[in-house]
Amino acid sequence: MNWLAGFFGDPAHWSGPDGIPVRLLEHLEFSAGAFLVAALIAVPLGLLIGHTGRGALLVVVAANAARALPTLGLLVLVVLLAGVGTVLPVLIPLIVLAVPPILVNTYEGVRGVDADLRDAAYGMGLRGRQVLFQTLTPVALPLILLGLRLAAIQVVSTATVAAFVGLGGLGRFIIDGLATKTYADVVGGAVLVAALALAVQLGFVLLDRVAVSPGVRQVR
């Protein structure tokens, strides 16, 4: 607790290029960038595969294999290959991290929709695309949101390692603290990242409340 008071009580930590606000913004920048790109890739792909059923096995196997890729190793390799100091290479391992949970959950969500419901939608005269967007997507939404939430949390917490290759973000406090044995900074940084991850978690719970149709929620 002394460490926390030392870290958060120090006015030097609240301003300047290595202050908490700047580091927090940097952290959000990497995380949001990677998350958005991953969502733009994985949600449409998951919807398509779930709807058509084509290529499902391949995608699920590939997504599971991608889970095994060590983010730190990928980060170090990509940054060495692309050159140190730019933000873009850091996004690649984070995107690789975020795609599998979104893709698999979106696919499972669409595929898991009751076949009767799908048939009813066709029976009411909806076309393929209308069935996907007006029936399957709303019903699959809880699972899609779960995938997005898992991905967002993993991205926010893993963006910490970006500091290892010399970039900013909240990981700076942890990595620099470890290097200089300033444990107040390590614990302070750790608390900040954990709080951010919890905030993301909470944000998704609220989004779930707002976005999921009450009818779908009742069935759950």
């Binding site: 095994a68 060590p70 730190l72 190793g73 917490s157 614990v187 940084g189 750790a190 954990a194 978690q201």
Partner: protein, 224 residues
């Protein structure tokens, strides 16, 4: 840097088993231990806890919430917190990873037991199974596919997460990433990534095999 190949085989040959603590084989061994112990401990703890959550439903909400919170903590954060308690030992990686494994395994055990059809449970009762034997001989075997699905996720992510421990000096194959980064040398990084993915694929395959052996009826139904 541009002419440097991704893999220099002679470096691998020289460093595979050079006898020191940084030999690739030594790191691999360390990695395996640090990745599997958390899953093992996690399973041993998750089974009784999951059972308790099924028996006493009110336990599940708070447990699930706690596990959600744990899951959202970055591994590096937990490692650095435990570094101040357990120091530079394997425990500093194994204990936090056990929490991550628990976060996946407890819901898997609960969902697995919930997936047992009521008719199956009632048939077992009608056949004279007492609760303890019913659990061991009927409910747990029927729950195996769901529990194993959780076990696969926990194992693969544990294998991949150990490497982050390299940032606090205990990362198994992850140490190769730090080494490669510091010397701007691709080969150790490539070796580390490939071995970790291979290890994960192998472990995943073994678990799939285990599921086939543990649930022979699921295959019988398919061929029938």
């Amino acid at each position: 840097m541009t002419d440097e190949p991704l893999v220099r085989w002679d470096w691998i040959a020289r460093n595979w088993a050079n006898g020191g603590p940084t030999a690739i084989s030594a790191l691999l061994e360390n990695h395996v231990v640090m990745a599997f112990l958390p899953v093992l401990f996690g399973l041993v703890v998750a089974l009784p806890l999951g059972l308790a959550c099924v028996r006493w439903r009110w336990l599940y909400q708070p447990t699930a919430a706690l596990m959600n919170v744990t899951y959202s903590l970055p591994s590096l954060v937990l490692f650095s917190i435990f570094l101040s308690i357990t120091g530079l030992t394997r425990s500093t990686v194994v204990i936090p990873l056990t929490f991550f494994a628990l976060a996946v395994l407890i819901p898997a055990v609960v969902d697995g037991l919930a997936s047992v059809p009521d008719a199956v449970r009632q048939s077992a009762v009608a056949m004279g199974f007492r609760p303890a034997r019913r659990l061991l001989r009927v409910e747990l075997p029927v729950a195996v596919p769901v529990v194993l699905a959780g076990l696969r996720v926990a194992t693969v992510s544990s294998i991949s997460l150990v490497s982050v421990g390299a940032l606090i000096g205990q990362g198994g194959l992850g140490n190769l990433f730090i080494d490669g980064w510091q010397r701007q040398f691709y080969t150790p990084i490539t070796v580390g990534i490939v071995l970790i993915v291979l290890l994960a694929v192998l472990a995943d395959g073994l678990l799939v095999l285990a599921q086939r052996l543990l649930t022979p009826w699921s295959r019988a139904r398919r061929t029938a």
